[in-house]
């Protein structure tokens, strides 16, 4: 019983981080129809920056967010403006995959070059701390990571639903031509959407650095599940991505009990294949998802 509860708690905590990152991926896809393979590479980059910051200065890695979030936002805007927007619209989906794949490889290579392939881990005074709730053991760092992800997701939600900018962004996602007709500068909005997406990677990476051992090729372990999540949720739907992230994170965590950690990872891919077989547009995707 306590094992089950433990798995559920861990699943929810993990699902929160997945949800934030999948929301970022969904934003890129929404504004530009881009499948951003480099998302998880930026995630690992942020984790490395947090680790580097904390080992150099001895300050808590969370503080690095102050620098990495704006930095990643600017990088995202720059990337959309200078690289993605240059691609031909007709082959945008395919070529952008290759381009972001190339960026992911470059980041992985540079990380390995600068920080070597050694596994790194942030040392924290509260790193080993945990507490018990109803027999389930919760590590403090995992809770902080979840809190960070949940707060960012909430902020993202509020921005998207309550602000004028959020309305413009959603309009751009739903129908770019119509958005242009009502006077929205969709190109600028797409740039900002990209920036926000990359900012989620900064937040996620910092959260990841708290309780994970990091190494340059780690991003491949993240991109697969994240891709599965956005397809299951329906490409382009942020609530769909968040719900799918929670369900799949929970499922993975629960399946670890009978199957072990390695085989439990296959759950994401099984879900991906089943979704594409039964409901290719995903479970929450609208009109947009059906065409991609």
């Amino acid at each position: 019983m306590s094992l089950l509860l433990q798995s559920i708690v861990l699943g929810v905590l993990l699902g929160g981080l997945y949800a934030l990152l999948a929301a970022g991926l969904t934003l890129y896809f929404g504004v530009m129809r881009v499948v951003m393979i480099a998302h998880s590479a930026f995630l690992i980059l942020a984790a490395y920056l947090a680790w580097w910051f904390s080992t150099e200065t001895g300050i808590d890695p969370l503080v690095s967010l102050v620098a990495t979030v704006p930095l990643f936002f600017l990088v995202g805007v720059g990337m959309q403006r200078l690289l993605i927007a240059r691609l031909r619209p007709a082959t945008m989906t395919m070529m952008s995959v290759l381009l972001t794949f190339a960026i992911a490889l470059t980041i992985e290579g540079l990380l390995g070059y600068v920080f070597t392939g050694t596994q790194r881990r942030v040392r924290l005074s509260y790193g080993g701390g945990d507490f018990e709730v109803l027999g389930a053991n919760i590590a403090v760092v995992k809770l902080i990571a979840f809190g960070l992800a949940a707060a960012s997701l909430l902020a993202l939600f509020l921005v998207l639903t309550r602000t004028k900018f959020g309305q413009a962004l959603r309009a751009t996602i739903q129908h770019p031509e119509a958005a242009r007709l009502v006077g929205i500068n969709t190109e600028r909005i797409a740039g900002y959407g990209f920036g926000i997406g990359l900012a989620t990677a900064a937040v996620g990476g910092t959260a990841l650095s708290l309780d994970s051992t990091i190494y340059p090729s780690l991003h491949w372990h993240w991109i697969g599940p994240l891709m599965a999540i956005i397809v299951v949720g329906g490409l382009g739907s942020i609530p769909g991505a968040a719900i799918a992230a929670m369900v799949l994170g929970l499922g993975q965590s629960l399946l670890q009990i009978p199957l072990g950690t390695t085989w439990a990872q296959t759950f994401f891919y099984v879900a991906l294949f089943l979704t594409l077989m039964l409901r290719p547009q995903g479970f929450f995707g609208g009109r947009l998802a059906q065409r991609f």
Binding site: R33, M94, L99, A228, L235
Partner: protein, 374 residues
């Protein structure tokens, strides 16, 4: 039926054919004589590796070039082909060449459900599935160590007896790879000229229009995909027989898939020999870097930057860029896009004066494809 692209071609066709024949002959001679000219067994083994890349890239191009669907995960099929061949040889003891063929067919069967899952919707899901498949295969083949040897790897028996020495092995495998490459190229050429190929290229240019014109897009894509997986698996199996050792990390590496894409894209995915040219360039560069600098992280950066540059500045590849350059100096090139509205109207008028009505559905599809090729 007259189409705008037919009319301007005729005069220089004879010369072009002769040039093509000479080029093809030179290529064949170069491939046949390479093992004799190779200075030492190492150079010969590099030749085999490049040939293997050429087979893989050309196989990739069945789906990437014709339909425009870029698979980043073709390493799954080469890896599966390698393991299928190796395991069949080890466990059933059948003739290795039979095992190779059986392995290829097995992978083709596996590719059917994968294709159904990933091709029903458009490109994005296809790419996602292709990457996911490599990751899942890596996971399975590392974990399932009773069958695959896990991370310790799998030793595949050589098809030739111990009396055949290493250089001799390299030479034989070089020619076998070349043979497989020739078959793949021939099939690509045949498809390129067929109604099936025109349908595939119409999908690449505009899938909605192709569908509206009655191209059975889903089944066409699926067939191209399965053919591609079959040849990729043969390439992987052949590599397994030559190299004699399989490790999941290298077989199901996302990098191998990326090499195939880079090679094809660099050479030109719309040309028959594009992937071969790309394989020679990239394969040689890879081996050169490995020999000079060893395995550092630097090759990842180089690969990433090169891929990025090709995608941004040269998405059509070297061959179209070169032929475009040559065409500048020849009289009026033949492309539908260079026919003005007035000329087209004139042709239509003449066409109507003759009995055939201009522009049926088949005609439009061909024009789309022709326009795309040039």
């Amino acid at each position: 039926m007259p189409s705008a692209s037919d009319t301007v071609r005729a005069p220089r066709a004879g010369l072009a054919t002769a040039l093509k024949a000479v080029g093809l002959l030179a290529l064949v001679v170069a491939v046949v004589t390479f093992p004799m000219l190779a200075a030492n067994p190492f150079i010969l083994s590099v030749g085999v590796v490049i040939m293997s890349y050429a087979v893989l890239a050309t196989s990739w191009n069945f789906v990437g070039g014709f339909t425009g669907y870029m698979s980043l995960g073709h390493a799954s099929y080469s890896g599966l082909g390698g393991y299928a061949t190796g395991l069949l040889v080890i466990h059933t003891g059948i003739n290795p060449w039979l095992a190779l063929l059986a392995g290829g067919l097995l992978v083709a069967v596996v590719a059917v459900p994968v294709g159904i899952a990933s091709l029903r919707v458009r490109g994005a899901s296809f790419v996602i599935v292709s990457i996911a498949l490599v990751l899942i295969m890596l996971l399975v083949f590392q974990s399932w160590s009773e069958l695959t040897g896990g991370s310790n790897g799998l030793r595949v028996p050589r098809p030739f007896g111990p009396d055949v020495l290493r250089p001799e092995q390299h030479e034989r495998f070089f020619y076998i790879h070349a043979g497989l490459l020739a078959v793949a190229l021939l099939l690509w050429w045949v498809i390129d000229r067929s109604r099936f190929g025109i349908g595939l290229k119409a999908i690449r240019e505009d899938e909605d229009k192709a569908q509206a014109l009655g191209v059975p897009t889903f089944s066409y894509k699926l067939v191209a995909f399965v053919i591609s997986a079959f040849f990729t698996a043969l390439g992987g199996g052949l590599y397994a027989l030559w190299f004699g050792f399989l490790d999941p990390i290298f077989q199901f590496s996302i990098l191998v898939g990326a090499y195939m894409v880079l090679m094809s894209l660099l050479g030109g995915i719309r040309s028959l020999f594009g992937p071969l040219l790309g394989a020679v360039i990239v394969g040689y560069a890879l081996e050169f870097f490995k020999a000079e600098y060893g395995d550092t992280q630097f090759h990842l950066v180089a690969l990433g930057l090169l891929l990025g540059i090709v995608v941004l500045f040269m998405p059509d590849g070297i061959i179209p860029a070169l032929t475009g350059l040559v065409k500048r100096f020849t009289p009026q090139a033949s492309s539908i896009r260079e026919v003005t509205q007035a000329e087209l109207a004139e042709q239509r008028r003449l066409g109507q004066a003759g009995e055939e009505p201009p522009g049926g559905p088949g005609d439009t599809a061909r024009n789309v494809a022709e326009g795309a090729r040039s």
